[in-house]
Symmetry: C2
Subunit: 210 residues, 2 copies
């Protein structure tokens, strides 16, 4: 009667492989990581490695699509309520941009983009678990602000996309290209402020428009 269907899943060796392969693939990409290197970093033999993952392709796809699923945690992106809609939007934008600028998030984005030709399912997994979730959550937040009369946005989800697009320009674009390694807080705040200003001038309702 005892069910132990996923007992394998918790094998320590398997966990070691997943952990080590995750770090290596995310940091260096598919081509630059050998199965030897994964085995060495995980402290297992190559035979053990292949006992758990049938091929390098499969290992890579598992690891990265798993990383896409984890790295979201958009739950706590939404800001604390404030009397000023601009403050809330700034807080929200700041959290999103800081999340995107994390080394790990940047690295995952890079790897997925770089290998999305060879592994199309990764592009899909990344989009569904990252941008698409953000679009829904953020869009719903905008819709609530509409309902409360604090914003006047015709298409909330499209507007969420546009706002995120403004966050992902300049600073983030350079970071994703390996330029501007660690942007200052001031630069981040300035980028967020630019997006918030544009957004509120376009869609703010009430006295904040000017």
């Amino acid at each position: 009667m005892s069910i132990q269907s996923d007992a394998e899943t918790e094998s320590p060796k398997r966990q070691a492989i997943i952990s080590a392969a995750g770090e290596l693939f995310v940091a260096h990409g598919y081509g630059a990581v050998s199965m030897d290197a994964v085995a060495r970093a995980a402290g297992v033999s190559k035979a053990t490695l292949y006992a758990h993952f049938a091929s390098k392709d499969l290992l890579f796809a598992s690891i990265i699509s798993q990383a896409c699923r984890e790295s979201i945690a958009v739950a706590d992106i939404l800001p604390d309520p404030s009397s000023d809609i601009g403050d809330e939007l700034s807080a929200l934008g700041g959290r999103i941009l800081r999340f995107l600028l994390q080394d790990r998030a940047l690295a995952i984005h890079r790897v997925v983009i770089g290998e999305s030709i060879r592994f199309p399912e990764l592009g899909r997994a990344f989009y569904d678990n990252g941008p698409a979730v953000l679009r829904r959550v953020f869009g719903a937040w905008i819709a609530r602000q509409n309902a409360a009369g604090r914003l006047d946005v015709p298409e909330p989800e499209r507007a969420a996309d546009l706002f995120c697009g403004m966050l992902r320009t300049g600073l983030y674009l350079r970071a994703s290209l390996g330029i501007a390694p660690s942007p200052s807080e001031a630069e981040i705040d300035a980028t967020v402020a630019g997006a918030v200003t544009m957004f509120l001038r376009a869609y703010g309702s009430g006295p904040a428009t000017d």
Copy 2:
């Protein structure tokens, strides 16, 4: 007295190598392309290949940084004059987005992002010859519209970045991840229209604001 410093540059074999390697690297990335494949596609022997390029790293870096320099041609991005600023901005946005969505532009962006860890200079070359040029040209255009009283934008270059960020969201993001392979003209137009609407509501001067 005759100068022939770049006679080598025009060697037909060398041109064949550059052309073939360009296609292969842009299409498949660094790791997935072998020197054998380059030699075969160029119709030369590997010895000839190595006579022109000392290593695979060097060949890759030359080819891709060259591709970054070429693929810009932002010259003809600027729109024809029109009586309506919205029409001009739409035309401009449409040209930018269509340029970015070209297979070749997408592929170069992907390769550079993917290999920017291993080849940091490529990220720089891409940014300097792509986004940075666009930012300057587009920013100057906005400044001219300011001067003509058709727009009222406090920081033209930053605004140019924001506008381009809005173009690079949704549709383009999915395309760069390998989803939504060939977007329809209607989708492209809708994306541009969204960005133009936001931009003009925020920074339009005159009656177009509402």
